[in-house]
Amino acid sequence: MIWTVMQTSWRRLKNNRSELFLTFVVPVIFFSIFALIFGSRDSSSSTPKIKVAIANAHPSELSNKAVLLLGEQKSLRISEHANSTKAGDSKTTVATLDRATAEDLVRRGMVSAAIVFSKPTDQALPNNAPKIEILTDSFDQVASQVLAAIVQKAMLTATAEIAKSSNPINGSAMNGIPNAAMQPVDVQHALYTRANSSGSAITPSNPLIQSPDTMSMLPQVAVVDVIGGKKTNPVVAMYAAGIAVMFLLFSATTASGSLLEERENSTLDRLLCSRLTMDQLLLGKWAFLTAIGATQLTLMFVWGSLVFGIDLLHHLEGFAAMTLVTSGAASSFALMLAALCKTRMQLGWVSTIVILSMSALGGSMVPRYLMSETIQRAGLLTFNAWALEGFNKVFWREMPLTEIGTELAVLTVCGFGFIVAARVFAIRWERS
């Protein structure tokens, strides 16, 4: 008996070409997609790098040297974002970027962090010892820790190199750095400051630079949280958007299956024999799915604000705008998938693959900055990425409505494009 059930199931599967294909080919495709997204293959070009901006606001030989060394770091990608606004080659750009601009770049999420060399405020420190700050987005905890260590290493290397070149015994005169510019003692003072001055200062004990007289003096790097520091929204705000957008897509595609159901039992024939046109049918379904989607998102965020402390009340404007365009785009997308498929079974399969891939790529599962460069760029093709970016700007970066214009525009265009595509695919149902 059990055998018969198994046999019949197998025969049914065998007779259903597309399902057979999906059953055995999809795992391979699926595996490949996720392997590509989360495990970058070609290490040289697409390993995740920390995207940073460097503001050398108080240039000195030491800081210039450190900037050069940082530029050679494989794990960093120095943002040349300021290039577009400020003319000149990248070196001068780095030099002219000021602290405020750097902070702005971090706030907007253009870079993960900014390294700022500025004039020391501490009078006890020698004149040319820069004050080093790392401005970060506290969401990206790993990046700031790694970055602090890298900066310290660069500073130590720079100090050592300068010290070496200024010392005649080490033959520094031959490498062309004028001795007059060198003040080795001052540099030492500048770099090695008291380790206990700040809680957020990072003082690795590098045995190489620990000479007896500088034991207590380590390069101090202050990590400044420019977003999380002041904010009321916990990190859950960022995850909420990711989960919500993925959920929205699943919910909308399931509901859009009603279109295929109507086709299967010829209700569609009857609907189209009435005064209803295909345009109206699709628009009606779209409006309904959008309304349901918006309600679901609202429900999630209201619950999030009640239980998990998301500050919904102070971001209502941005939330409403993002919720509307996101659910609109998700509904269009769902209808397009439904219009593309032949049966509800097929829709189930196709939507699962597409939505999971899009969510992974678009950052609903793992933040996008952890992915390799290529994948991050590919992620921009999914509308998850844009939706998440918009929600993050609203809840995490606390930006005003005007700042999410790009996201709103992209999502609106996507939504429009998808519904037009759905309409085109539905032509085959209108008349056979």
Partner: protein
């Protein structure tokens, strides 16, 4: 010649127009091909106002394709469908038509009343008019007491009745039904035909496909038999019999014995296991037939003489039995 021919042309066209406009529905030379398969090949017939027309044909004859073309859901390769002389492609013409698909095209997760309201609205009924028509429909299908039950909990016959009601709320002048009584017990079938009779008395033209010959014979005014996408017969039952078998009687002979060849003038019907032929005068012709069977070595074991009915007409025309 030219001078004479020119003024004649519009006259011919206008008479053709008039010809069609006296019919509720005209199907004019309809062709439809699916891939390599010619589903309709030049189908033409007319339906008068208030007429009940049965479309008969073996499986795959093209009946469903025909119904779907009539309501604009299938785009024919060639040909025209006219409602009261107007092409269905003209705006708003289709609104005088009601269609009841072969499948149960209702929402199982809505109640009977909600289904009726939905399709009523889609046909343009609003507020008071809608309420009135829904109430009428529930009474018409005899489901007033079940109005607020979900249709998925209904019996097959009840679902069929809701399915039909959803297509007539807007008082269509022409109603198309594709196998409205399939899978329905005799009582429910009786009930459905009573419902349809009520509509036809109010002047609605009804076109239905069916595989029940008795329904076509007793419940419809006219019969159109379709085979291979063509109309092979069109008329009342009496006309069809006269056109095909005429006043002839069918003679069926069961014979055993070793026969060297089929008896001349008789046809072997494999399903009935009998030799068949048609005679006009039983008394005169029967002895000759029996003689012919015996002359090829047949031993007659049984013999029947039938008065022809639609079943014979159908067999005569299509060479096939209907299903059921």
């Amino acid at each position: 010649m030219n001078v004479l021919a020119t003024p004649e042309l519009p006259a011919i066209q206008s008479t053709q127009q008039n010809d069609h406009s006296i019919f509720a529905l005209s199907v004019v030379d309809l062709w439809k091909k699916y891939g390599d398969h010619q589903a309709l090949s030049g189908t033409s017939f007319d339906v008068k106002p208030g007429e009940r027309l049965a479309l008969l044909g073996p499986n795959g004859a093209g009946k469903t394709t025909l119904i779907r073309s009539m309501c604009g859901r299938v785009r024919p390769d060639r040909g025209e469908i006219l409602l009261f002389g107007k092409s269905i492609r003209e705006p708003n013409v289709l609104q005088s038509m009601g269609v009841i698909p072969q499948d149960l095209a209702i929402y199982a997760d809505l109640t009977a009343q909600e289904n009726l309201e939905c399709f009523g609205q889609l046909h343009g009924l609003r507020s008071r008019k809608l309420r009135e028509r829904v109430k009428w429909a529930l009474r018409w299908i005899g489901l007033e007491d079940r109005a607020r039950d979900l249709t998925k909990n209904f019996s097959g016959g009840m679902k069929r009745r809701v399915n039909i009601a959803c297509g007539v709320l807007h008082r269509p002048q022409i109603l198309l039904l594709d196998e409205p009584t399939v899978g329905v017990d005799p009582q429910s079938r009786q009930r459905i035909f009573e419902m349809l009779d009520e509509l036809s008395q109010e002047g609605t033209s009804i076109v239905l496909t069916t595989h029940h010959l008795d329904e076509a014979e007793t419940r419809c005014d006219r019969i159109v038999i379709v085979d291979h996408g063509k109309v092979v017969a069109d008329g009342t039952i009496d006309q069809l019999i006269e056109q095909t078998i005429g006043v002839q009687r069918e003679v069926a002979i069961e014979a055993t014995g070793l026969m060297v060849a089929a008896p001349p003038g008789l046809r072997w019907d494999a399903t009935r296991q009998r030799f068949l032929c048609y005679v006009e005068n039983v008394a005169d012709e029967l002895p000759g037939i029996l003689e012919r069977v015996q002359s090829v070595g047949g031993v007659i074991t049984d013999m029947e003489v039938h008065q022809p009915d639609l079943h014979h007409v159908f067999l005569y025309l299509t060479g096939r039995e209907l299903r059921e």
